[in-house]
């Protein structure tokens, strides 16, 4: 009886241990993959049109969803913010509230989440399908390294697009906030823009937002290309990889956001 209990506990421990070592080795594999991408990047940049095409694919084609979401988030932020600020008689501060929330936090995070589900999943599915249909193997047999030809351009396309998308998200969010705050609610336009101008600094507010969006860009792009490259070459494997990209990217964005926020606004003396 007791030996059954012990073997049961041992079984559970083995399962936990296996899961932990499995995740750690995967993380190590992904890190080596990142090094390999960087190593092959000069080769990829020699054909810059490949990266430009990926910027178009990941960035330009994501514009509609990013801009629309930015506009609506800004409008909602303005409505909700006004409700709260009015209680303290600080409704003229609406501009600064909208701008800071977007530039510091919502712009990078929301754009990152949208980017992961719009572009990240597409990148994973594309690379996974290329692997399933032996296109990557065919490339290797033609003495063309898929890391330089397929992976690196997609990675850099994502890394370059992400900060630009986050900036546009924030810009449209502020515009949405203005639309609701000034013409609809009736806050003075001079107060709205003037407070914003006085209260938002390039450093730390804007720069930190850009740093965040850049980090999210690296994280999402790496997860997307890695999951695609590592996908099992079956229909089920590609579907699992695509789902993993969205889930892992979203978690990574939120976790990294917390860590960076702690460093930026506490250590940086912002609070």
């Amino acid at each position: 009886m007791s030996s059954d209990v012990i073997s049961g506990i041992a079984h559970v421990l083995r399962r936990i241990g296996g899961a932990v070592t499995g995740s750690i080795s995967r993380l190590g594999f992904a890190s080596r993959f990142l090094v390999a991408i960087v190593w092959h990047s000069p080769q990829a940049f020699r054909r810059i049109h490949l990266t430009v095409h990926e910027i178009y694919f990941a960035g330009v084609l994501s514009l509609v969803i990013i801009l629309m979401s930015g506009l609506f988030v800004g409008m909602v932020l303005s409505l909700q913010g006004y409700e709260t600020l009015k209680r303290y008689g600080a409704d003229e501060q609406l501009g600064i509230l909208v701008a800071l929330s977007l530039v510091r936090e919502l712009g990078p995070v929301m754009a990152g989440l949208l980017f992961a589900s719009r572009a990240g999943s597409a990148i994973t599915a594309e690379i996974g399908l290329m692997k399933t249909t032996e296109q990557l193997a065919a490339m290797e047999m033609m003495a063309v390294d898929p890391l330089a030809r397929v992976i690196a351009p997609r990675f850099w396309g994502g890394v370059i697009s992400m900060p630009l998308l986050a900036a546009l998200f924030s810009a449209f969010g502020i515009f949405g906030g203005y639309l609701v705050g000034v013409p609809l609610i009736g806050i003075d336009a001079g107060a709205f823009w003037g407070q914003m101008q006085a209260g938002v600094d390039v450093w730390p507010d804007v720069t930190n937002g850009i740093i965040k969006s850049l980090v999210f860009g690296v994280a999402v792009s790496l997860i997307a290309v890695f999951e695609g490259y590592d996908a099992k070459p079956t229909a089920e494997g590609v579907s699992i990889a695509t789902t993993r990209t969205v889930v892992m990217s979203s978690l990574a964005i939120l976790a990294l956001d917390f860590v960076m926020t702690v460093f930026m606004f506490r250590g940086g003396g912002g609070l």
């Binding site: 290329m130 249909t133 032996e134 193997a137 047999m141 033609m142 003495a143 063309v144």
Partner: protein, 287 residues
């Protein structure tokens, strides 16, 4: 590579590997390979002479494709020697392996065309990657390759617009884009209608002779292979069980070859996957 090995090799290719012009195109000596602990090949020895079309035949999952992957350096054998044009493939570093692969063409089972490129761009791909040829010359070369497989009119189509047989021919044109010294075909006949099948078979033979290359055809289509190849190896359970020229194979009384050529369901290759005795399994819960 020496000029003797392939007189039509584009001059723009970088000459970084030194191949022995007198060596057989491919020599496998006592090669064994296992995925994890599952043995796939057990002591394969075979020779592919230059300029010949050689078929490797066997049932599905017998290790045929693994042989191609070993030749192409995508896998390394656990034991034995893999020589391609006198070079030991498993011992090459990445740069030398890529240099060797530039002299290979490979047709994958379902073509493996790049789905985001047109037919023209698919065939231009190896030229653009490995040569500095001007655009006009690439255009002419691509059209010549497409003409050789009868699909010059399909240059502007996307792979999704091609039938299975056409896609296979485009992939064939891409495999020979750089006039390789060795072309490997992985199941070139799988899933083709009888007409396409005959066309692809004839193309393999004609292109081999016209370009002076060596061809390795991995297939289970025995009738089509007997028409076009110079020599056949039969692989079963990771071993070579029979070999010979098409005439020898047709006349062979070897039970494996007979089963394969006649397409019988039972014989040396058993119909049943290994299992415990039927009676014991059926009555297991009764006892």
């Amino acid at each position: 590579m020496s000029a003797a090995a392939n007189p039509r090799s584009p001059a723009a290719l970088t000459e970084t590997c030194h191949l022995d012009p007198d060596a057989a195109a491919i020599e496998l000596t006592d090669v064994s390979f296992a995925y994890d602990r599952r043995p796939v090949l057990r002591g394969i020895t075979m020779t592919v002479p230059r300029g010949k079309v050689v078929a490797i035949m066997g049932g599905s999952g017998c290790g045929k494709t693994t042989i191609l992957r070993l030749i192409g350096g995508q896998l390394r054998p656990q034991s034995g020697k893999v020589l391609v044009a006198g070079q030991s493939v498993p011992d090459l570093d990445a740069a030398a392996l890529y240099a060797l692969r530039r002299k290979f063409g490979m047709l994958f089972q379902f073509g493996a065309l790049f789905t985001d490129m047109s037919v023209f761009e698919n065939i231009a791909f190896p030229m653009r990657e490995h040569t500095e040829l001007p655009e006009e010359l690439i255009r002419d070369l691509v059209l010549m390759k497409l003409h050789a497989v009868g699909l010059r009119g399909a240059a502007k189509l996307m792979p999704s617009e091609l039938s299975g047989g056409m896609a296979r021919r485009v992939a064939l044109a891409r495999a020979i884009a750089l006039d390789p010294m060795l072309v490997m075909y992985d199941e070139p006949f799988a899933g083709l209608d009888p007409i396409s099948l005959g066309v692809v078979g004839q193309l393999i033979r004609q292109l081999n002779d016209a370009l002076g290359t060596t061809s390795v055809v991995v297939t289970h289509d025995v009738y089509e292979s007997l028409k076009i190849v110079d020599y056949l190896y039969f692989v079963s359970e990771g071993k070579i069980v029979a070999q010979g020229t098409p005439n020898v194979v047709r006349a062979s009384t070897d039970p494996f070859v007979r089963q394969f050529v006649e397409g019988e369901s039972d014989g040396p290759v058993p119909f049943h996957y290994p299992a415990q005795p039927y009676r014991r399994e059926i009555f297991a819960d009764v006892q």
